[in-house]
Structure formats: structure tokens, C-alpha cells
């Protein structure tokens, strides 16, 4: 369970999150929508431990662990996974080597045995097939020369292999073609279960047709200003944020 209480954070002297309250119980998927610059990515970065943010108040616990006190790698080992809005290119680092190193680091931290190259490749090939991705995805350097959509799919591949307990997907649907959107959604839905929860940040109701959320929240100017069921997304699609922000 993810419990965010009154979370405030700033960059430099600019306050971005202004008291976010959000609880995502195990087994649930929550969507976060909201205007550009509202602080959605900031929230996902603060939860995953990126440097450069000052948490000025509040807390974030995952399964009882104080996320904000943990190193990013410890958060990953605890099961937190962020699919980046802008996945990072790593020239000179092979994708297979990267994902295997990540998987083994997480397994080590959890006291599980490491996978050798052969066992990993078997696992990775199956995941790639399930996500209908080209095989050479593993051979290339991480995200280097990947199209926008390929980068997003690579995030989902990592998620499928790392099997997180809490996935934060930051606009993973942006840049995906119609088929890829379905495939990626299936990837998320395949992880659904009593021990999996997700925060899905998106601008488009369309994604939520495929991954039906339990709740939809609207984040604006650093606060959750409205929460509701999946129908809230439809309402936003029809009327935009203007009316809400005034409320």
C-alpha cells in the first residue's frame, strides 16, 4: 500500500507539490491526470528518489517503509518502479546487460539468487514476445536511437521483468501507436493482482479504456483537487480542467 500524506516538495525556491494526499491500496490502479506543469512528474520523481527536490513537508510510505528516507536503489528493491516520461539514453550500455544487472541487483537486495546470462535471456525473450517487441531491442544500447514509442515500450519491458509491487507510469502512453497502446496496456494488466498497485499518469482517457483504473485523481498546481471513479476521466475529456481549477 502506498500512503502519501500532505507531501510538499520544491525545486530551488519554487514550490511544486503543495500537500499531496493519496492512498493506493494493494491491488488497485489509480490514474492521475492534470494540466501540464501541475507536478505529476515531480510527484513520480520524489517517490522514486531523484535528486534535486527538497521535501518540505509530509510523508510517503510504501508497505510501511518510509520511501523518502531510502536511496533510489533501495526503493526499487522494495518494489517501486518508475516508467519515465522521458526514458534516458545510455550510450555504450547494452540493453540486455542493463536489464540483467538491474534484475540481479534487485534479486540480490531481496535475498534471491542471481540469474546467469542464459537464464536471463530466456526470461527476457519470453517477455519481449509477450510485448510483441523486436528481438534486437535487447542487443541495442539502452534507448539509443530508439523511437519515442520504442523507448516507452522498453520501459514496459523493464517493468515486466522487474515485476514491481508499485508501478508509476508517467505518460507511458504518449507516443505509442494504437497497437502499442494495447500491448503496453496488456503488459500492465498482466501484472494486476492482489499485491500489485499502480499510479498511472496520463493526459488521455483512451489509455484508461484499456487499463481500467479503480480511481482517477486530478492533480493541479501541486495538489489533488478532485478524485472520482473512471467516469471522472470521461468528464475531463469532455470539459477539460478549467471548471475544476476554479472549484
Amino acid at each position: 500500500m502506498l500512503e502519501i500524506k500532505n507531501l510538499s516538495a520544491s525545486i530551488g525556491d519554487k514550490e511544486i507539490l503543495r500537500g499531496v494526499n493519496l492512498v493506493v491500496p494493494d491491488g488497485e490502479i489509480h490514474a492521475i491526470m492534470g494540466p501540464n506543469g501541475a507536478g505529476k512528474s515531480t510527484l513520480s520523481y520524489v517517490l522514486s528518489g531523484r535528486e534535486g527536490y527538497e521535501v518540505t513537508g509530509g510523508s510517503a510510505f510504501y508497505n510501511g517503509q518510509d520511501l523518502l528516507a531510502m536511496e533510489p536503489e533501495a526503493r526499487a528493491a522494495a518494489g517501486v518502479f518508475l516508467a519515465f516520461q522521458y526514458p534516458v539514453e545510455l550510450p555504450g550500455v547494452g540493453n540486455a546487460n542493463f536489464i540483467r544487472t538491474a534484475l540481479n541487483a534487485v534479486r540480490r537486495a531481496r535475498g534471491e539468487g542471481e540469474l546467469d546470462a542464459v537464464a536471463f535471456l530466456k526470461l527476457a525473450r519470453t517477455a519481449i514476445k509477450n510485448l510483441s517487441m523486436p528481438d534486437d531491442m535487447l542487443k541495442r544500447n539502452v534507448n539509443v536511437g530508439f523511437s519515442g514509442g520504442e523507448k516507452k515500450r522498453n520501459e514496459v519491458l523493464q517493468m515486466a521483468l522487474l515485476q514491481p509491487g508499485l508501478a508509476i507510469l508517467d505518460e507511458t502512453d504518449s507516443g505509442l501507436d494504437i497497437d502499442a497502446l494495447k500491448i503496453v496496456s496488456e503488459g500492465v494488466n498482466a501484472l494486476r493482482g492482489p499485491k500489485f498497485s499502480a499510479l498511472i499518469i496520463t493526459h488521455y482517457q483512451r489509455l484508461l479504456d484499456h487499463i481500467v483504473p479503480d480511481y482517477v485523481h486530478v492533480l493541479a498546481a501541486g495538489k489533488i483537487i478532485r478524485s472520482g471513479g473512471p467516469e471522472l476521466a470521461l468528464e475531463l475529456e469532455a470539459h477539460g480542467y478549467a471548471g475544476l481549477e476554479a472549484a
Binding site: 536511496e71 519515465f84 550500455v93
Partner: protein, 366 residues
């Protein structure tokens, strides 16, 4: 004895030997081995404090006995070496033989400051092939001043991988001179992680058409280490290619130097010369000096030099950490990635694994 070069000499502008000059060295004497020697399961030639050690060696067939050095070089360090050299590996491979791979290990254990000046000689006959994996390790205050002369006859190919992992109080000043005949290839890669002060000075002469050379290196330095990579590539025949990719990873107060000169003679048309220097500064106190020089007398040549200086990208480190990879390992991966192009000439699998392991564990050594 010939005097040590000083910074007044253009070739020594960036590397100051005054700390070396201040030490009085004794002649090296035999010693006991207190560290494990690298073993890749291939023939191994071992020198201990500069003297061949038969008990530790499993020499290849083509190792011959040391012959007295006659040398008229004007290079001060080569002169000093010539005056003192009393041992060294003499490798002589006849024509048309694939001689496999051999390790050349220099181990030093200096209880008192000592100096040794080995003279190695490698001759490959027409069409022959050899891989040399050279490793220099040791402890204590010592000065290792090896000179390696390489003669590659027509179509011969030498892959020369060097790991300079000397003790952190040591001085390592190596001179490598390679004569590369028609269609022959001198492929080298040096990994520099040891010594307080070091220099690897390469002189490669491409003397026949279609001769090629790679003079690549990676310097991984910390503390107050100083490492100098100096090269002079002489293109003396048409259609030759020389490629130098030197990468420096510099932390703390360390300092890297690259001086590379490409000389293209009038006859050396269609020369392809390439130099790339890239430095990764891991500390605001680290320093890199880069001095490329081109001296071109032919009119149809392609010579390029590029240099970049950067730092590790915090976005990349965070991306790796967000996937569960601990910070130190993330840095090591990015350092390894940065070095990729420099490692290109390392085609021998055993050498590659050996060098990559050394690179991957370097960051964690601190």
C-alpha cells in the same frame, strides 16, 4: 648517465620528473613474490624486479635469450634504458605462424627505492600473428623504465594489450617503438590505472603501404596520480591508417595528459589519421591536458582530431539507480560505457574479459 628530461623540453612540458629525480635508486635485486600473479592459462613470461624468472614462467617456444642492447636513440629515457638494460623478453616469431597469445608480466617488490630498465624486443616474420598481454604490477617505491621494440614484417599482425597497474608509489615510464611494414598491423590498447606518475610513449612508423595501427588507451586515475600518453605516428607510405582513441577517467586531483603527433610524409598519400581524446572528469580538481599535432607534407590525406571533456550525467546515474542498481555499480557501468570505443582493438576474448574485469572493479577499489 644521461640526465632525465625536464619540462624545458617540449615533449615533457606536461610531465614533471622532478619527484623522480629527487630519489636515489639502487640497482634492483631479486625478491620474493608477495602478491598473486595474473594467470590466463596461456604461456607466461615473468620478470621480477626486472629480471627474468624461469621458475614462474611458462615460456612460449619463440622466446630467445637476451642480447646486449645497441641503441642510438636521441630519446633520453631510451638512452638511460640502453645504458642499464640487462634483461628483457626477446620474442622472435618466424614467418607465417599464428603464435597465439602470451602474457608478459612485470612484478616489482621494492623494499628500497629501486630502478629497472628492461628492454623487450618483438619481431614477427611475414604474415605471422601474435597477441601479447602485458601486465605491470608491484609495490614500493620503484622506477620501471621499459623500452619495447617491435618489428612487424609484411602482413604481420601484433595485438598488444597493456595493463599498467603498478603500485601507487611507483614511476612507470614506458617507451614503445613499432616498425610496421606493408599490410602489417600493430593493434594496441593500454589500460592505465597504476603508478604515482606514468608515461607511455609510442613511436609507430608505418613504413609500407596499407600498414595500420591502433594506439588506444584508457586512463583511470585517482588521488594525485599523473598519467601521460604520448604518441608519434609517422606515416611514411601511402594508404596507411592510424587510429588513436584515448579516454581518461579522472577523479580526485588526478591529471591526464595526451600528446599526439601525426607526421605524414610527402609520399604518404591517402593517409587516414584519426585521434580522439575524451575525458570524464569525476572531480572539479582533476585536470586533463590535450595537445594534438599534425605535420602534413602530402596533399591527399584525411586527418582528424576531436576532443571532449565531460562529467557523468546525473540523469543517467538516477536512471540506473531507479532500476535497483547501487550507485557505485551505476557509476562503474557508465565509466565502462564511456571507455567502449577505446577497447575496440581488444579482439582477444581472454584479454577482453581480463581488462573489462579490471575496469569494472576499478571504481570500487577506492
Amino acid at each position: 648517465m644521461t640526465a632525465l628530461p625536464t619540462r624545458k623540453l617540449e615533449a615533457w612540458r606536461y610531465t614533471d620528473l622532478k619527484n623522480l629525480a629527487a630519489i636515489s635508486f639502487v640497482e634492483a635485486t631479486p625478491t620474493k613474490i608477495v602478491a598473486p600473479l595474473p594467470d590466463l592459462g596461456i604461456p607466461r613470461i615473468v620478470f621480477v624486479n626486472g629480471t627474468y624468472n624461469a621458475a614462474l614462467s611458462t615460456p612460449p617456444d619463440f622466446l630467445s635469450s637476451f642480447a646486449k642492447v645497441v641503441d642510438e636513440s636521441s630519446l633520453p629515457l631510451v638512452q638511460i634504458n640502453a645504458a642499464h638494460a640487462h634483461d628483457g623478453a626477446t620474442i622472435d616469431v618466424p614467418a607465417n605462424i599464428d603464435a597465439g597469445a602470451v602474457m608478459l608480466v612485470s612484478y616489482a617488490n621494492a623494499e628500497m627505492p629501486m630502478a629497472f630498465h628492461p628492454r623487450h624486443r618483438v619481431v614477427l616474420g611475414e604474415g605471422s600473428k601474435l597477441t601479447i598481454i602485458e601486465v605491470a604490477i608491484g609495490q614500493g617505491v620503484y622506477w620501471h623504465n621499459p623500452v619495447t621494440d617491435i618489428i612487424l614484417h609484411e602482413g604481420a599482425a601484433l595485438s598488444h594489450y597493456r595493463l599498467q597497474d603498478e603500485g601507487l608509489d611507483a614511476f612507470h615510464l614506458a617507451t614503445i617503438r613499432a616498425q610496421v611494414a606493408e599490410k602489417a598491423a600493430y593493434e594496441s590498447f593500454s589500460l592505465v590505472i597504476g603508478a604515482k606518475l606514468s608515461r607511455a610513449e609510442f613511436h609507430a612508423t608505418l613504413s609500407g603501404p596499407n600498414a595500420t595501427t591502433h594506439l588506444n588507451a584508457a586512463q583511470l586515475l585517482r588521488g594525485r596520480q599523473h598519467a601521460d600518453f604520448t604518441s608519434v605516428v609517422a606515416h611514411k607510405a601511402p594508404n596507411c591508417a592510424s587510429r588513436q582513441t584515448v579516454k581518461s577517467v579522472l577523479s580526485d586531483h588526478s591529471r591526464g595528459v595526451f600528446q599526439g603527433r601525426i607526421e605524414v610524409a610527402r609520399v604518404a598519400q591517402k593517409t587516414d589519421g584519426y585521434q580522439m581524446n575524451q575525458a570524464l572528469l569525476l572531480s572539479p580538481h582533476a585536470e586533463i591536458d590535450i595537445k594534438p599535432e599534425l605535420e602534413i607534407f602530402a596533399d591527399d590525406v584525411k586527418c582528424s582530431h576531436g576532443a571532449t571533456i565531460g562529467a557523468l550525467d546525473p540523469e543517467q546515474i538516477f536512471y540506473l539507480r531507479s532500476r535497483g542498481i547501487p550507485e557505485d555499480q551505476a557509476r562503474a557501468m557508465l565509466i565502462r560505457a564511456f571507455l567502449t570505443e577505446a577497447l575496440e582493438p581488444v579482439t582477444n576474448e581472454a584479454a577482453r574479459v581480463f581488462l573489462e574485469d579490471t575496469i569494472e572493479t576499478w571504481w570500487a577499489r577506492k
